[in-house]
């Protein structure tokens, strides 16, 4: 124990209520809790760091400005925050001209510090293939894929965040996974038609 009792840690709902009363320290704690994951989500979705940072900042400003509108009976704070961010992101994308699309997306590869350079090169190549395949997906599909398989959010919550039917979430996840898999499997040397050994526990 570190001497921190659960009662000493304010819930997200408490913090949003404090924001509604003008408590600036509360928005800081909310950002401390959720800022990084939101940034990662937006960067994966938008593939544009400046835009992702801009949207993230605007989403938290929106939390601050509209805190009194948050209704915990309608969903979690994170779902509310992500929904605001997703709406802002889609609005920005709608304003963006098609010629600008994806120009600033860059893959940041980890430093090559492994013992086996050929393995590193192979992994970087796979990362590039995956990066390109993700770029071919729509921002909404990237958002769905990220929320489902990186953040592991329930289908219902993703549907609420993106304001689409649950069935659409499922079908888009299926489609996006299929697209990525068709790019990755040949790079991994796996014949998609050949049954592979079952993966160990996937969770």
């Amino acid at each position: 124990m570190r001497g921190v009792t659960p009662a000493a840690v304010p819930s997200d709902v408490d913090l949003v209520r404090r924001c509604a009363r003008g408590d600036a320290a509360a928005i800081r704690v909310l950002y401390d809790r959720h800022g990084e994951s939101l940034l990662r989500f937006l960067e994966r979705m938008l593939r544009d760091r400046p835009r992702a940072e801009d949207v993230c900042q605007e989403a938290f400003l929106r939390v601050w400005r509209r805190a009194e509108l948050f209704d915990p009976a309608r969903g979690t704070f994170t779902a509310w925050l992500y929904r605001a961010a997703a709406n802002l992101a889609f609005n920005r994308l709608a304003l963006k001209s098609s010629t600008e699309t994806e120009l600033s997306a860059q893959l940041v590869l980890p430093p090559a510090d492994t013992v086996n350079p050929s393995e590193e090169a192979s992994r970087n190549e796979r990362s590039r293939l995956l990066h390109d395949a993700l770029g071919a997906l729509s921002p909404q599909d990237r958002a769905i894929l990220t929320l489902r398989h990186i953040e592991e959010r329930p289908v219902a919550e993703i549907a609420g965040i993106l304001d689409i039917p649950e069935g659409t979430v499922k079908s888009r996840v299926h489609y996006a996974m299929h697209r990525l898999r068709s790019v990755l499997e040949p790079a991994l040397g796996v014949d998609p038609g050949t049954p592979a050994a079952p993966e160990q526990d996937s969770r």
């Binding site: 398989h149 996974m177 990525l180 993966e199 996937s202």
Partner: protein, 194 residues
């Protein structure tokens, strides 16, 4: 294993015979592999699917490929500038106008109305106050203020109105003078920007 699988709606069942292992036509996991990887399925259903995949070549390949794809997706590096964004957000928050000052003003105005009305009503019970009004207030207004029952309510109301106006105008100005935002505790989360 190699159970024959049938799926209908959200439910499913695996029959103990049928032997589709290696058949290549089983699609049981295709629809549920994301749920399985995301850990959304009930434990019993998950175990049954995994058990099925253990004997079904098609489903085991499906599960393994999906798991590899998710692993690759998660391994893709994403650099974020968490504290830089907070710095920018902090500056934006500092430029924000005071939040909901009208609510505070409304509450204060109500208190002002009640308080001023009470004070005025008490003042009018004092003969010296009434004498002062009779000496100093112009005739027309004085008669208006001191006529019978109006004495008890009109002047307090005027005072209250004045108090409410002061509250509505002054309190937002006071509320705008918010304390600065506290610094973000970033020690546990070093910036990950490249």
């Amino acid at each position: 294993m190699g159970g024959d699988a049938t799926a209908s709606g959200d439910g499913f069942s695996l029959n103990g015979n049928g032997g589709r292992a290696g058949g290549g036509a089983c699609g049981l996991l295709a629809e549920r592999v994301s749920d399985l990887l995301a850990g959304d399925l009930p434990l019993a259903m998950r175990r049954e699917l995994e058990s099925h995949a253990g004997g079904c070549a098609t489903c085991s390949a499906e599960l393994a490929a999906a798991a590899r794809t998710v692993a690759a997706l998660r391994a893709l590096p994403v650099a974020v500038r968490r504290d830089a964004v907070w710095s920018s957000l902090e500056r934006a928050l500092a430029r924000e106008p005071a939040r909901r000052p009208h609510l505070f003003a409304l509450e204060a105005a109500l208190l002002g109305v009640l308080g001023t009305a009470l004070a005025s009503a008490l003042a009018l019970r004092n003969d010296r106050v009434v004498e002062w009004i009779e000496r100093n207030v112009p005739d027309a207004l004085r008669e208006l203020l001191l006529i019978g029952s109006l004495r008890a309510c009109l002047l307090p109301t005027l005072f209250a109105l004045f108090g409410a106006i002061v509250a509505v105008v002054a309190l937002p100005l006071l509320a705008a003078r918010r304390p600065p935002l506290p610094a973000l505790a970033l020690a546990a989360h070093p910036e990950k920007a490249s």
